[in-house]
Amino acid sequence: MRESIIMKIHYGTALAAVALVAVHILFRMTQKFSDSLSYQNVIANYHFLPYALMLEVVLILLSVHGFNGLRVILLELKQGVAYERAINYGSIAATVALVAYGSRTILMAGMGMS
């Protein structure tokens, strides 16, 4: 992929995340901070579908942005065809893994499987 496309994704994810993370944090502020983290409250959040969906989106955005950021740093640290290929695929794998792991939580908590 052209580097410009990757970096546009990097910036795009960041911008989109700004708004959504703000919502995520504001949710923590609707009540006393520690109450917002009580088990019932959190589960209730997950059951609220739009919020759960938003969490999923935030998860994807930040994983993509964060691991691409890490990829950039690693690409700059060391060069070499094999190394760079490993970094590129490695960061995709890491992104996928983190998203999968996070989605599992959202899915399971949201479906009331716990």
Partner: protein, 144 residues
């Protein structure tokens, strides 16, 4: 060996923010906070995953974070998040060629137009916002 022959400054040079003005500090902080946030994100997702294991597991996990150390870490995360976001927006606009000055005929002694006061102001504002957010966050966290 190769590093020395090519005389690259290496990671230490890249990570040394002290020599070239505030813009270099801003760059360094952006990197550091980016990495910090990534680490937090991973930790946070691991943390929240405990919810699928029921109330007990969740509360046990929460307890882990509700220590003074946990609060300090969260305070730092808040600061990192605010700085990285605010400065990130500055950097993004800059990368698009916005606010980086206009080409002209520079006068000696040369001052680079891209290192202008608007950029520096934005950097300081990002730092200040992060500090404010950290104070607020600390008040909330420790206030509980």
């Amino acid at each position: 060996m190769a590093e020395r022959l090519s005389n690259r400054e290496g990671i230490r040079g890249m990570a040394n923010p002290t020599r070239y003005g505030i813009e270099r500090v801003a760059y360094w902080l952006q990197r550091l906070t980016g990495l910090g946030l990534l680490a937090y994100l991973i930790g946070h997702i691991y943390e929240t995953s405990s919810i699928v294991n029921g109330k007990v597991a969740w509360e046990k996990m929460l307890e882990l974070t509700q220590t003074p150390q946990g609060h300090i870490i969260l305070t730092i995360v808040i600061g990192m998040c605010v700085y990285h976001t605010a400065n990130g927006i500055r950097v993004m606009l800059g990368h698009g060629g916005i606010g980086v000055g206009k080409p002209g005929e520079p006068e000696y002694p040369y001052k680079a137009a891209s290192l202008n006061y608007k950029q520096r102001l934005c950097i300081w504002v990002s730092i200040a916002l992060a500090a404010l957010a950290m104070m607020y966050g600390a008040a909330v966290l420790f206030g509980d």
